[in-house]
Symmetry: C2
């Protein structure tokens, strides 16, 4: 099996910079769009064969160095009894958002293997192919809490913030449950063969540093500590985190995934050399002319300067408008760029 | 006239920290909601008496140290022949977005005094009251370009970014026109008596530092240089700018308005002591219990540490859900907190 991704995540030397893309499985691939003509999103993630097929499509098509399970961060919320819909062009929608201390108090965490057994089955099918390392992922506590309280994607996240300030104990219980859920869910996927885990706390960047540090970070730290015994690389991802990176680093993930807002060298300096870095090309840049894309890729690699511990990725997920040829060209360029220590 | 705001903007000593709020005129005030029962947004800004009345409502009600003209950044786009609607709960919508080099090429900048004469009339009416300094504002080049190309608010701004990379000359022409428009528009408002100007380049934080520096900053710098002869404080505002602050500082505004993502002392250290700082409480925090609001206000003031050149404000506009009593309490706390050099 191709080991570049895992070596880089551990800060070890590699023959070429590993590359994968968040949302690499999905609308940018024509074979995925063909699957979607017949099945809905929830149908795909409910069918381990179909889920494994879609998860592996970009590995075959793009030559990436890791497979990321095709799923959505709200899926395991079923273990908390929370039902949602995945609405095209919108995102996850919860018809019964949780907006009171009482509603949090009654939440109970059921065994996640019973709530979403199909994910573990899908992981086993992908792992059985033995092509590349498999990344399992879970939503971060604040980001999932935002969906749960807001009821869906939000522009200003004021409902979840308001809940956080008005009901600090209930908010802490909710984030504690979500951290437990992430540990259970990712542990089950690693037990099924997943080789690395990523926490998508995508929306933490809407918080002030003070609120992040006081009200979210303790849960992130406990979550990451709970994953440590698994012995696999633990990646933390967020957007808009330029002012939070030192705090995120203090939660001690193995890898921090940077968004595109901060130059890679500056972000790496903020988190320190002991943590590996993933990122951080602007996903929208893949819509630019090829010379500009190539220049952007070269710039990220130049800022990584051949240091061990860099995994090339985007700063957020692949946009659905992205052409497959562009993704292929990026993979080729990353792999072919000599790793010369700058 | 109360001069605190202007003194702080010039970095001079003040008797109390000045405070105003972006979007202080608007839905948080019951007297504004009564006006809105009878008139639409465009009707208000088209009627100088009504516009002046709404602009002054928060001055009377809240005791803020500056009046900001009630308007919308898309209003002066009429001088470019661009028509828009203001849709409640959505924002500005352009039914005919500009998405080709040809469409940019035919844009012509008409005299802004002829395109929106009502704004200058409204400024004169507010100035005539002689209560507090009057802040005129204009959209920043990238932010207006985003509305013009996207056709409205955008989650990922991929259309305007794509246009920026595919049609760099047309994009540069568009931003040049928008910089000229801002200079004309703000010059006309200052000639009508406005005492300060603010550039809302609210969405620049979606750009990588590389793109901001290469493709937007030159226009911002030219815009700010064009405003310098007016001799009034020039404020630059953006959100998500934690990684862009040094570049924004290089465009040489008199004041930089920080969003809430970066601690005030850290942001100020990045832009340097020669530039005054405005901000930077999380607007959503005004929905928190009063003790938490008060703690947040105290924290911002503590990080400003009594230095000359701090204007208290939020990190973005007042949320419509905000209670007027909370805004009043913030103003009182800011004014009553002793300015002890930390």
């Amino acid at each position: 099996m191709n080991q570049r991704f895992l070596k880089a995540a551990r800060g070890e030397p590699v023959d070429a910079t590993p590359v994968w893309f968040m949302r690499q499985a999905g609308r940018s691939l024509p074979e995925y769009r063909r699957v979607r003509e017949r099945w809905g999103l929830l149908e795909i993630v409910s069918d381990p064969d179909l889920c494994a097929e879609v998860t592996l499509q970009p590995v075959h098509r793009l030559g990436v160095d890791a497979a990321v399970m095709f799923s959505d961060i709200v899926l395991p919320l079923r273990a908390l009894g929370l039902e949602f819909r995945l609405v095209d062009g919108v995102g996850p929608v919860l018809d019964a958002p949780v907006r009171s201390a009482e509603a949090v108090q009654v939440l109970r965490l059921a065994p996640v293997e019973e709530a979403v057994p199909e994910m573990m089955a899908a992981v086993r099918r992908v792992v059985a192919e033995d092509l590349v390392p498999v990344v399992a992922f879970a939503g971060g506590p604040f980001t999932l809490a935002s969906y749960i309280v807001e009821g869906g994607p939000s522009r200003d996240h004021h409902l979840v913030k308001s809940f956080m300030w008005h009901e600090p104990q209930a908010f802490a219980r909710l984030l504690g449950l979500l951290a437990d859920l992430a540990v259970d869910y990712l542990s089950a996927q690693v037990a099924s063969g997943a080789n690395a885990v990523q926490i998508f706390d995508s929306w933490v960047g809407v918080l002030s540093r003070e609120d992040y540090r006081d009200l979210v970070l303790p849960h992130t730290s406990r979550l990451l500590a709970g994953l440590r015994p698994l012995g696999v690389p633990r990646i933390h991802f967020g957007t808009g985190t330029s002012a939070l990176l030192e705090d995120i680093a203090s939660s001690a993930p193995d890898v921090i995934s940077l968004d595109w807002r901060i130059p890679l060298d500056r972000g790496w300096a903020m988190v320190g050399p002991e943590i590996a870095i993933q990122g951080n090309l602007d996903p929208a840049l893949l819509l630019a002319p090829s010379a500009r894309v190539s220049q952007g890729v070269a710039n990220v690699l130049a800022l990584a300067a051949g240091r061990d511990g860099h995994i090339f990725n985007l700063g957020h997920g692949v946009l659905p408008q992205t052409k497959v040829e562009v993704l292929q060209a990026v993979v080729a360029q990353v792999h072919q760029t000599p790793r010369i220590r700058g």
